[in-house]
Amino acid sequence: MAEIVEADNYEAIITRIEHKSRKIESLLKQYKPVEALKTALEGSPPKTKDERCKSANWIVVHRAIMAIKDVDSLFSALDPEYYDILMKYLYRGLSTGDRPTCDQCLRIHEKLTEKAGLGCILRCLADTVNTV
């Protein structure tokens, strides 16, 4: 029975991500990249072990990260509650090895480390359970 619930959850997560994706597109069209990033980070599925869900959400987050032009204004608008999860996605971005992605992630990483401190990086690296 538990398995059935899980299956529903996967579907639900994927559906939610699709929904998020549409919302992000519309936010980007309105030139609200920070709002888009927040939306992308919200409700990301770190606890699930399902890679499909994680990848799907990463694609959405990546879209939002790449749309960020002004990193300084990003952090004046981004609340601290997003720091830890954003850091995790930055490291995922860096692990792709894709040049533009890495450039962007490093730019944000610098500012984020200033804001959130080394503890944020440690939590991100040390956390083996809530992965993105």
Partner: protein, 533 residues
């Protein structure tokens, strides 16, 4: 606050304890000896050297009332030292361990002491008159790894332990014939019975402490995952029929820069974790019911306070913050770190290196010195001996008032108002950044069932993966927003990621405990080095 005094006793100190009147200090200078120093005329003088152990002494405790010193060592032995006319005389303790002893603490009544060990056991030791030695009863098969720290509940029965298996546990240590039947209602629990197990982090747990009342428990965890925090079920009946509350300071002793608090909340116990901006903590100390000091890899004690509602938050650093800003900061940090490694690898570290590290790196007793003194509020026998000038910092006085809402606690932390002001150079912005996030965290914490549910997930998920092999492709096509380029990019990532990220930390976690078992646990030199970085 700068350290009130810095005195260098040894290159490295593995453990220490204060005498009851705070006039003496007993420490292990990273070898098999135990040195006792006495403060006389503003100078610390070595008055005794206790030689009985064969290997590094890993734990020392000095009993307050009976004036006995207990030492434990990696040589698997423990001695209780009594002061007699001829000096300090050791009494053997029969520990029956096959791995190193790691930590020791006298019980509040001082008729027992507990020893944590690398043998996954805790020894509860008590005196046997007829043989004139101390015997031990073992709590076996409860821990999955080394016991890193222990703490006695004020009721003399309950013992909290932390272990490198990432868990914090509470046991009953009731021993017939040693403990009176009427000591609290916990007397009906049998020896070694596990009362609570806290499973809040997936990393090494350290530095467990009870609050003075025994209502709150704090501990920290070494690098691991902060992840699963969940509300605790209610514990067994506590001292006065109340339920036990625990605050877990995750990375209050964790390498994940989190601190967990568990509080005795009656019907709905809740754990709270506080994310720390900086490096993980290694140990904690309750100054009062609502104030905790944590020390760790930042070489700068952190103060945490609980507000009226019991919400814990970071208050500030105790030492002054290294003044640095933005870009210049990182460069200097690297060179500083480099310098530290260099200084340590060459053991003949010159004075220059020492000074550049700042007071707390080479000697962290000072912090505790302050705390203990202030806690006792006794007349302070320890007058500062300044080898290094305390650094001076400038900061505005106005900030101070805003920052310290807990006026009543001020006197706990510092005696001189001027120092107080100098304390807070860079805090304001930090606080602002940190505090807003904490309420949210707590909200996440409170609902207990969801968390538990998540705990269950991983296993089922794994099965699920096998059941649904075809879905992934479909799903990716469904996502409308993705440009083609990206689709090419990403399919390869998940695999990379899977292999790269999760495996490293796990290896780490698995490797370390097993290594340590081989070695009889805690290679204390390297530990120390890590600690002082």
């Amino acid at each position: 606050m700068a350290a009130t005094s810095v005195h260098k006793f040894a290159q490295c100190i593995t453990c220490h304890a204060w005498s009851p009147d705070l006039s003496m200090i007993v420490l292990c200078p990273n070898n098999s000896e135990v040195h006792i120093y006495k403060l006389s005329e503003d100078k610390w003088e070595r008055v005794h050297v206790l030689q009985k152990h064969d290997q590094i002494v890993s734990g020392i405790d000095w009993s307050y009332r009976s004036n006995k010193i207990v030492t434990v060592s990696h040589d698997r032995n423990s001695y209780v030292w009594n002061q007699e006319a001829t000096g300090w005389v050791p009494t053997l303790v029969i520990l029956r361990l096959n791995r190193a002893a790691l930590c020791v603490q006298w019980s509040p009544k001082e008729n027992k002491f507990a020893v944590g060990s690398g043998a996954k056991t805790v020894c509860i030791c008590y005196y046997e008159q007829e043989n004139n030695w101390w015997v031990s009863k073992l709590i076996r098969k409860r821990h999955d790894s080394s016991v890193t720290s222990i703490a006695w509940h004020p009721n003399n029965i309950l013992l909290a332990t932390t272990s490198t298996d990432g868990k914090c546990r509470v046991f009953s240590t009731f021993i017939k014939g040693v403990d009176a039947k009427d000591s609290g209602n916990s007397a009906d629990t049998r020896f070694g019975e596990q009362i609570v197990q806290l499973d809040l982090c997936f990393c090494w747990a350290f530095g467990v402490r009870w609050s003075p009342s025994g209502n709150t428990l704090a501990y920290v965890a070494q690098p691991g995952a902060l992840s699963s925090r969940y509300a605790l079920g209610r514990g067994r009946a506590g001292p006065h029929g109340s339920t036990l509350r625990y605050w877990v300071l995750d990375d209050l002793s964790g390498h994940n820069s989190m601190i967990y608090f568990v509080d005795e909340v009656g019907p709905s116990a809740a754990a709270q974790s506080v994310a720390i901006r900086d490096l993980p903590l290694r140990d904690v100390l309750f100054l009062s019911e609502r104030m905790v000091v944590g020390v760790g890899f930042d070489c700068n004690p952190m103060v945490f306070v609980a507000d009226e509602s019991g919400l814990w938050s970071f208050l500030r650093f105790l030492d002054e913050r290294k003044a640095a800003s933005s870009s210049a900061k990182y460069g200097s940090q690297f060179s500083e770190a480099f310098e530290k490694f260099y200084g340590q690898s060459k053991f003949s570290a010159s004075n220059n290196v020492e000074q550049s590290r700042g007071a707390h790196d080479n000697f962290n007793i000072v912090q505790q010195e302050e705390m203990q003194i202030e806690r006792d509020e006794a007349s302070i026998p320890v007058e500062p001996i300044t080898e290094f000038e305390p650094l001076e910092t400038k900061s505005s006085h106005e900030q101070n008032n805003e920052l310290l809402p807990l006026e009543q606690n001020d006197d706990l932390l510092m005696s001189e108002p001027e120092q107080n002001n100098a304390l807070l150079p860079s805090e304001p912005d930090q606080n602002n950044e940190l505090f807003p996030s904490e309420p949210e965290q707590k909200k996440e914490l409170l609902p207990s069932e969801p968390e538990l549910k998540k705990e269950l997930l991983p296993y089922e998920l794994a099965q699920k993966n096998e059941l649904l092999p075809f879905e992934p492709e479909q799903k990716k096509e469904l996502l409308p927003s993705e440009p083609e380029q990206k689709n090419e990019l990403f399919p390869s990532e998940p695999e990379q990621n899977n292999e790269l990220l999760p495996s490293e930390p796990e290896q780490k976690n698995e490797l370390r405990p097993s290594e340590s078992e081989q070695n009889g646990w805690l290679p204390s030199e390297s530990e120390q080095q890590i600690g002082s970085i």
